[in-house]
């Protein structure tokens, strides 16, 4: 095992990896930007290195700074987390060249899988089913129009270098194509530094099913079953669950075999995910994510296997001692991604200070946190604040537990999607397991939390709170002064005779 590992990421995934290292007795080095001085990952790591300004290009995406930090601190390996440099083959190669272990697949695998076009060709050769599409190098609007006609509308365009929904657009008719393509290319350029696009047949009611893979340096490859990630907004996942209600044992086995075949075809190393679209009984390879994923936790809870620790073990050269038949699914797990965003305003990211964060704790409730109460939510990074993961004996139990947990998940100061997630989980169609990737568009378009007037109880609560804590605002709307925090009135309880306090 390594002596010391540098974690080239921030937020909950950096925290997750640091904890895995600590459990294995590995020293950790965190890197951070000047916006993250107080961040949990910095507090948790044994050492930390300031690597630059808040803009990702100046810090978390700056390969030179990260590699020299690793060298300065004698870290033997770098864990890239997800996002940032995790799927950048240049970075993986530079680590190799500098004698630092990149905790993930080999650079050429990342490169191959990052090129969605080459990835599909490879999969076709390995007899993994793929979706019809245009993956050519010619990037003109005319060519896209021509190819779209061949494939048949609707089509979807995606960034060749991308992921996470950035640069993705559905096009339903030829008239929409030119503007969507232009805007996608700009988004792709900003997010990945590369505006190359590809286009595919758009499946109308597909489910997003993905298989977790682990592979060691001897080529021993297993899958750890599926995750269903069909609940998405703006093509980004918000609710994930394992197992999927859509898979029969036969289909699960068939897809699992295909996933292993896909990984073996590229001599995959370490943890990865093979994503499929499932439409009826037909499944199609979408892409392979060459990293640990956001939603890895639900696989961990249902298989009992610690993926972050296996990543470290495999990278340090240990053999994967798990056999396919050793891995079983048990019970049901759901993850909700808690985002700083406003579901009433098209899921726009929200920023500000998280004044209050109170978490529901209980049996089989897991929190992967990258933020603490009182911290600033900045516009520089992905707006995901944390992940809430629950486990239940069956799907119903897991859904009920999640509804309970969300009902007690207090985030005040920054708008979050908690209330929205709760309604998704409570939706009768979700309860029945009738989900597909359009679920949110179909049932939650123009969703509003305040359907009616505000309940009077809420006004009563605000009124009593202010009665207990605050003097009258000064004329002209100046800031109110907080009263004595030790005032006995704060412990009001049943009131006895006394004076009004203003």
């Amino acid at each position: 095992m390594f002596e010391k590992v540098l974690i080239a990421n921030r937020g909950e995934i950096a925290v997750r990896v640091i904890k895995a290292c600590q459990e294995l007795g590995v020293h950790t080095v965190a890197v951070y930007s000047s916006a993250d001085k107080q961040a949990p990952h910095v507090q948790l790591a044994d050492e930390s290195v300031l690597i630059g300004e808040p803009a990702p290009s100046e810090s978390y995406l700056d390969m030179d700074k990260i590699i020299s930090a690793a060298k300065d601190r004698d870290a033997e390996a770098i864990h890239p987390g997800y996002g940032f440099l995790s799927e950048n083959p240049v970075f993986a190669k530079r680590c190799e060249d500098d004698g630092i272990v990149f905790i993930g697949p080999r650079a050429d695998t990342i490169s191959l899988m990052g090129d969605k076009i080459a990835a599909k060709k490879t999969m076709e050769n390995a007899e993994v089913p793929v979706i019809p599409g245009y993956h050519g190098e010619e990037q003109t609007t005319e060519r896209f129009k021509e190819e779209a006609k061949k494939i048949g509308y609707p089509v979807i365009i995606k960034a060749s270098a991308g992921g996470g929904g950035k640069g993705m657009r559905i096009i339903r008719s030829e008239g929409e194509l030119a503007q969507s393509l232009e805007s996608s290319m700009r988004e792709a350029k900003a997010a990945f530094g590369n505006d190359s696009m590809f286009m595919e047949k758009y499946l109308e009611n597909p489910r997003h099913i993905e298989f977790q893979i682990l592979a060691d340096q001897n080529g021993h490859t297993i899958h750890l079953f599926e995750r269903e990630c069909s609940i998405q907004r703006r093509h980004q996942k918000v609710v994930e669950e394992a197992p999927s209600v859509a898979l029969t044992p036969e289909l699960r086995e068939k897809m699992g075999d295909a996933a292993v075949r896909a990984a073996e075809a590229v001599k995959y190393l370490n943890a990865g995910t093979v994503e499929f679209m499932l439409s009826g009984e037909g499944f199609y390879f979408m892409e392979m994510n060459t990293r640990l994923q956001v939603e890895h936790a639900i696989t961990e809870t249902t298989t009992g296997i610690d993926l972050a620790k296996w990543q470290l073990r495999i990278a340090s050269g240990e053999p994967l001692t798990l056999k396919q038949e050793d891995v079983t699914q048990r019970g049901h797990s759901i993850e909700c991604r808690i985002y700083a965003e406003d579901p009433e305003k098209g899921f726009l990211p929200s920023t500000g200070t998280l004044h209050k964060l109170e978490l529901p704790h209980g049996p089989n409730v897991r929190h992967d946190m990258g933020i603490e109460s009182g911290q600033e939510v900045s516009p520089y990074y992905d707006p995901m604040l944390s992940k809430l993961i629950v486990y239940g004996e069956d799907r119903d139990a897991a859904v009920s537990k999640m509804v309970w947990a969300l009902s007690n998940y207090v985030t005040l100061g920054v708008t979050t999607n908690v209330a929205f997630l709760k309604e998704v989980l409570m939706h009768p169609e979700f309860r029945k397991g009738n989900v597909n990737t359009h679920f949110i568009d179909d049932y939650f378009k123009d969703w509003k939390f305040h359907k009616d007037e505000i309940p009077h109880e809420v006004l009563i609560a605000a009124g009593i709170y202010d009665f207990l804590h605050y003097t009258m605002p000064k004329k002209g709307g100046q800031e109110t002064g907080e009263s004595d925090p030790h005032s006995p009135w704060k412990k009001a309880g049943k009131w006895r005779l006394g004076e009004r306090r203003y």
Binding site: P349, Y381, W495
Partner: protein, 166 residues
Amino acid sequence: MDMNFRHGDSIYNVQVNKAEAGFTVKIDDKEYAVDANELRPGLLQISTGDGIHKFVVSVNKDERHVFLKGGVFKLERLASLDQADIHETEGDLNSPITGKVVAVKAKDGQELEKGQTIIILEAMKMEYKIDAPCDGTVKKLHFKEGDPVEMGELLLDFEERTEGEE
């Protein structure tokens, strides 16, 4: 104690008075007998006769955020009813996000039709389009490509075209 809270477009008058047991709370014309406990700072247990609810309250200047069963209600404490007038909305051409201007699609003086894109903003790698809210003229753009922009900042002056001008 007499308070006014704004929620969305509505303003509510809330009067809280200590009663012999608990409080009386009057909201507009409706009166409630309330029993309340602050179980720990910010956590209120409130019983109105209809049932017992727990609320978590956080305060930032005039903002009051009240959490109830997974939902958050955002209120604003107003100094007086007069103050409400100050906050009349200015139109929709304020930036809805804190981020960066990635493209400016119109020029000063340009006439636009409703729905035409004027400015494209970006935050956290997601694009957000600002479209003309109605037919009209761009009077003055306050931002250019690459400028950072704060939530709520006025992006441009825009004048609605009235039918007489056509």
